[in-house]
C-alpha cells in the first residue's frame, strides 16, 4: 500500500509547492491543484504572465480548503460605505488588507489589476502594511466585483467586522518623522555654527558682533528642538512626577532642561558658547533610537478581537431565498445557511439531523464533534459536513466565544513597569546627582564658589543617562529586527525582557505541537491489492464521517466507482460493496477483533469480504523536530503541557516534558488561565505557547504569550509574540538569542561608563567646556550604537539565526 500517485520533484508552477497526489498538466506547466491552474489561466488571458518572471512560483497555494465566500452583502450601500474611504463623484477609493501578499510579483500583479478589470483606474500596494488601495469607477465596476477578482487571483482580502469599524492612525508615525528630521537639522546647523568657536577657544576671531550672531542663531535653532522635538520627554516625565512616580524620562528631561537653561545663561550673560549642540544631539539620537525600537510590524496586528475571526457576512433565508447579509444585521431567530468549512458566526441551534463540527479553535479538541438536531452550536466552530441550516439563538456579540474574549484580565504592561536597564539607569542618575553635589561641596569648601557651581551643572550635563538609554533602545531595535527576520515577531521591547526572564514554558498541543491541517495516517496490516484499495476508497468516500473522509483523502482513488448495499451504523462503522468486494470499515468491537491495542491512537479497522485486513491508524501529526526541541527545552526550562484535547497521547508525550504531572488534558480555557496563575504565584515567569482562541486568555494571563501561526492563517488571538509555525523548532535558539540581550546591555553599559568617567573627570574639576562635551557626546553615541549593532549580529550568528 502507499500513495496511489506520487511524483516527487514536481513543483507547482504557480505556488511552488510540491505536487502531491494529483498533478495537473496545463500549457506545459505543472500545477498542484485546480485553484492554482485557474489563477494561471486568468493571468494568461490578461497577458499578465510577467507575474511569473519576477519571482519564481510567486503564487499562494490554493490547495487548503478555502471557505466559500459570499460577497453579495458588499452591494449593500451601508456596508460598502464603511469600506470605501473616499468618494469623488463616480470615483471611489477603497483599501483592502491582503494577508497573502508576500513578494515583488504580488506587488506587480496587484498594481496591474486595471488590465483585468477596466473599471479599476489604479491600484497601489503598501507592502509593509499589506494594504492595497484601489481607485475605481463605480459606473463600470463594483466593490463586490473587485473583491471577487482579488479572490480569483489568489489574493483574498481580509474583510472582517473589525474593518467595518473604521480606524486610521497614520499621524502618529509621521509626527515621529517630523521630530527626527527637525532635530537632525537643528543639531547639524548648531554644530556647524559652533565649530569655529571650538577651535578659537571660546572667542571666535575676537569679533564680538559675529560671536553674538553665531550664538543667537544657535539659540534660535535650538528652540524647536527644546519645545517641539523634546516634548515627549517632558510630557511623560511630568505625568509621572504628578503621580509621584519616576520613570526613565525624568532624568533625561532634567538633563535637557538643565543644559538648555545653562546654555541660555552662558549666551545671554557671559556671551559664551553654550551646550546647545550637545543638547540637540542628544534629543536627535534619542528620538532616532526610539523610532528604531518602535518601528512596528503594522501588518501584524497583535490585538485582534473575536470579530476578526467570525465571518463578516452570513447567508440568511428570507422568504425561501438565500440572501447574503452582513453579520451585524443578523438577529436572534434568523434562519441561516452554513456550508462546509465555514465558521459559525453566532451561537445557534442545529436544524438538520446531525452534522460534524471542528471546535479546535475554540476549545482545543482535535477530534471533530458530532451534533444532533436542536443542539446548540457555539460560534467559532467550523462546519465539517455538507450544508446545514441553523437558527441563531444569541446575537453574535453575546456568543460564548465573545464571553471568552470579554473576560480579559488586565493591561499587562502598564507604563510604570520597570525594566532592568531602566533600573540601572535610575541608579546611575542618582549616583551622578550625588557626584555633582560632592564636587560642588568640595570646591565650595575651598572657597571656589563659581567653579563649584560650574562643576555641579556640568556634571549633570555630561553624565546624562542618555548613552545607556540609547544602548537599550538600539539593542532592542536590533533584536526585534533580527528576530523578525527569523519568523518571530515581538509586540514591543517590554516583551523581550519578559522572555529573557522566563523560566517556565507552557505548551498547548493541538495546532501548536501538532499541525492544524494535517493528521498522519497509516495503514497497518497485510498488503492491499490495487482493486481492494479502490474498493475501500469508494466505500469511505460515500460516508460523511470525518474519519472516512480522511481515509478517502489518504487513498485518493477514482471517484466514479459505484457502491452498492451501503450501510452506515452510528458509532460502529460503515459497509458497502464496490469493485465486487464487500468492504467494512469500523471499530474493533464491531468487527469482533479481540487483540488488545493501546488506546493512544484512533484506529479504523478494515475487513474485506468479512476477513480482517488490517487497520488505519490516525495520529495527530506533530510538527517536524518538535520532540528534540521539547527534550532540549526541558533541560533549560520547566515545561508544561495544557491541552483541551483528550489524553490519548499522554504516554507518548510524558517523557518530553519536565515531569508527568506537568501534563494536563481536557483543559477548558479557564483551566489554562488558572494553571498559569498558580505557576505565577510560585514566582515563575511563564511563557505560554499556543495557537487558538482557546489560548487567548492564557496568553493574557501569562507573562508573554507566543502565538504559533500557519502561513495562511489571517486570524490571531491577542498575544505578545507571533511565531511562524515553520520556525517553532528554532524556539530554543530564538529564546537563547533573546537572552543574550543582557550581555549586550552590560557591555554597552561598561563602555558608556568609561565615557562618563572621562567626562566626569573633566566636569568635576570644573573644566568641561562645550568642546569636550561636543566631542564626547557623538563619540560615545556612535560607539554604543556600533557595539549594539555588532554584538547583536554576533549573537545571531552564534545561535545560527539568519541576519
Amino acid at each position: 500500500m502507499g500513495k496511489i500517485i506520487s511524483e516527487n520533484n514536481t513543483v507547482c508552477y504557480h505556488c511552488g509547492e510540491e505536487c502531491r497526489g494529483e498533478r495537473i498538466h496545463f500549457h506545459e506547466k505543472d500545477f498542484c491543484c485546480v485553484g492554482c491552474k485557474s489563477v494561471f489561466e486568468i493571468l494568461e488571458q490578461n497577458e499578465l504572465c510577467t507575474y511569473y518572471s519576477i519571482t519564481r512560483s510567486p503564487g499562494v497555494s490554493q490547495q487548503l480548503p478555502r471557505v466559500g465566500s459570499y460577497y453579495d452583502f458588499l452591494d449593500d450601500a451601508s456596508v460598502a460605505d464603511k469600506l470605501i474611504h473616499f468618494k469623488d463623484g463616480d470615483i471611489f477609493h477603497v483599501k483592502f488588507r491582503i494577508p497573502g501578499m508576500h513578494c515583488s510579483s504580488c506587488i506587480w500583479l496587484l498594481e496591474n489589476l486595471h488590465k483585468i478589470n477596466t473599471g479599476i483606474q489604479s491600484s497601489r500596494v503598501t507592502f509593509m502594511e499589506k494594504e492595497l488601495q484601489v481607485v475605481y469607477n463605480s459606473e463600470e465596476t463594483s466593490l463586490k466585483d473587485i473583491v471577487i477578482l482579488l479572490k480569483k487571483i489568489g489574493y483574498e482580502p481580509n474583510l472582517s467586522l473589525d474593518d467595518l469599524q473604521a480606524k486610521q492612525q497614520k499621524k502618529e508615525s509621521r509626527s515621529q518623522i517630523y521630530k527626527i528630521g527637525i532635530a537632525g537639522f537643528c543639531f547639524g546647523n548648531i554644530m556647524m555654527l559652533s565649530f569655529p568657536d571650538y577651535f578659537a577657544g571660546g572667542h571666535f576671531l575676537n569679533d564680538g558682533m559675529l560671536n553674538h550672531v553665531f550664538n543667537y542663531v544657535s539659540l534660535s535653532l535650538s528652540l524647536p528642538v527644546f519645545f517641539y522635538c523634546a516634548q515627549e520627554f517632558f510630557v511623560s516625565s511630568w505625568q509621572h512626577i504628578k503621580q509621584k512616580r519616576i520613570n526613565i524620562d525624568v532624568p533625561i528631561a532634567l538633563a535637557i532642561l538643565i543644559t538648555f537653561c545653562v546654555s541660555i545663561y552662558l549666551i545671554v550673560f557671559e556671551h559664551k558658547l553654550g551646550f546647545l549642540d550637545s543638547m540637540s544631539g542628544i534629543v536627535f539620537f534619542m528620538l532616532l533610537g526610539r523610532f528604531f525600537q518602535n518601528k512596528g510590524y503594522h501588518y501584524l496586528s497583535f490585538q485582534r478581537s473575536y470579530a476578526s475571526y467570525l465571518p463578516i457576512s452570513v447567508n440568511k433565508w428570507i422568504a425561501g431565498k438565500e440572501v447574503n447579509i452582513p453579520l451585524t444585521a443578523a438577529a436572534i431567530g434568523d434562519q441561516i445557511v452554513i456550508r462546509n468549512n465555514e465558521v459559525i458566526p453566532a451561537d445557534a441551534l442545529l436544524m438538520n439531523d446531525s452534522a460534524w463540527f471542528d471546535y479546535s479553535f475554540v476549545t482545543g479538541e482535535s477530534n471533530w464533534v458530532e451534533k444532533h438536531k436542536n443542539e446548540i452550536i457555539y460560534a467559532g466552530a467550523m462546519l465539517k459536513s455538507s450544508l446545514v441550516n441553523l437558527t441563531i439563538s444569541k446575537s453574535p456579540s453575546q456568543s460564548y466565544i465573545t464571553q471568552l474574549w470579554n473576560s480579559r484580565l488586565y493591561n499587562k504592561y502598564d507604563a510604570n513597569t520597570f525594566f532592568t536597564a531602566e533600573r540601572m539607569n535610575l541608579w546611575f542618575s542618582a549616583i551622578v546627582l550625588f557626584l555633582g553635589f560632592a564636587a560642588c561641596m568640595y570646591w565650595v569648601g575651598h572657597g571656589e564658589y563659581s567653579v563649584g557651581l560650574k562643576s555641579l551643572i556640568t556634571v549633570w550635563i555630561v553624565a546624562c543617562p542618555c548613552a545607556l538609554l540609547l544602548s537599550t533602545t538600539f539593542t532592542n531595535g536590533n533584536m526585534l529586527t533580527i528576530l523578525a527576520g527569523n519568523g518571530m515577531f515581538i509586540k514591543n521591547a517590554a516583551v523581550l525582557e519578559k522572555l529573557r526572564d522566563a523560566d517556565t514554558l507552557v505548551f498547548d498541543k493541538t495546532g501548536t505541537l501538532t499541525h492544524s491541517h494535517q493528521s498522519e495516517i497509516d495503514f497497518i496490516g497485510r498488503e492491499l491489492k490495487a482493486n481492494e484499495c479502490e474498493a475501500i476508497f469508494a466505500v469511505a468516500n460515500v460516508s460523511i464521517h470525518p474519519l472516512s473522509r480522511r481515509i478517502a483523502k489518504f487513498i485518493d482513488g477514482n471517484v466514479a466507482m459505484d457502491v452498492t448495499d451501503f450501510v452506515s451504523q452510528d458509532g460502529k462503522g460503515i459497509s458497502g460493496r464496490a469493485n465486487g468486494l464487500h468492504v467494512q470499515l469500523g471499530s474493533q468491537q464491531w468487527l469482533g477483533i479481540t487483540t488488545l491495542f493501546s488506546n493512544s491512537f484512533t484506529r479504523v479497522f478494515v475487513a474485506i469480504d468479512k476477513e480482517v485486513a488490517g487497520y488505519f491508524e490516525i495520529r495527530n501529526q506533530y510538527r517536524e523536530s518538535i520532540f528534540p526541541l521539547l527534550k532540549s527545552l526541558r533541560n533549560q526550562y520547566d515545561t508544561h503541557l495544557l491541552s483541551g484535547d483528550n489524553d490519548a497521547e499522554k504516554l507518548h508525550l510524558a517523557d518530553m516534558f519536565s515531569s508527568t504531572d506537568n501534563l494536563r488534558f481536557h483543559c477548558l480555557p479557564e483551566d489554562k488561565t488558572a494553571y498559569i496563575k498558580s505557576l505565577q504565584s510560585q514566582n515563575h515567569t511563564v511563557v505560554m505557547i499556543g495557537d487558538g482562541l482557546n489560548d487567548a486568555n492564557a496568553f493574557e494571563q501569562s507573562d508573554a504569550g507566543i502565538a504559533v501561526i500557519e502561513q495562511d492563517q489571517n486570524y490571531l488571538p491577542a498575544c505578545d509574540v507571533i511565531l511562524k509555525a515553520n520556525r517553532i523548532h528554532r524556539l530554543q535558539k530564538l529564546l537563547q538569542f533573546v537572552g543574550s540581550t543582557n550581555t549586550i546591555l552590560y557591555v554597552a553599559f561598561v563602555v558608556s561608563l568609561l565615557y562618563n568617567i572621562i567626562g566626569l573627570s573633566f566636569a568635576m574639576r570644573g573644566l568641561l567646556t562645550p568642546v569636550v562635551a561636543a566631542i564626547l557626546m557623538p563619540v560615545s553615541t556612535i560607539s554604543i550604537v556600533g557595539i549594539s549593532f555588532i554584538l547583536s549580529r554576533y549573537f545571531a550568528w552564534k545561535y545560527t539565526l539568519s541576519v
Binding site: T50, R124, T126, S173, R174, G181, I182, L205, V213, F214
Partner: protein, 52 residues
C-alpha cells in the same frame, strides 16, 4: 568679516529650504511606505515591451 553674516544667511536659507522640502514630503506620505517604491521602480514597462 561681515561677509560671514551673508554666508551664514545663505547657508541657513538653503538648509531651511531643504527642511521645508522634507516636511512637505513627509506630509505627502513619502515616508509612509519605505519598501514598495524600491520594488516598483524595477518593474518593466509592459506597454513598451509589447510595442517593440
Amino acid at each position: 568679516m561681515s561677509v560671514m553674516l551673508l554666508l551664514i544667511g545663505c547657508s541657513l536659507t538653503v538648509a531651511i529650504g531643504f527642511l521645508v522640502a522634507f516636511v512637505w514630503n513627509t506630509k505627502q506620505g513619502q515616508f509612509d511606505d519605505m519598501h514598495t517604491p524600491s520594488v516598483r521602480m524595477l518593474f518593466e514597462d509592459e506597454t513598451k515591451e509589447n510595442d517593440n
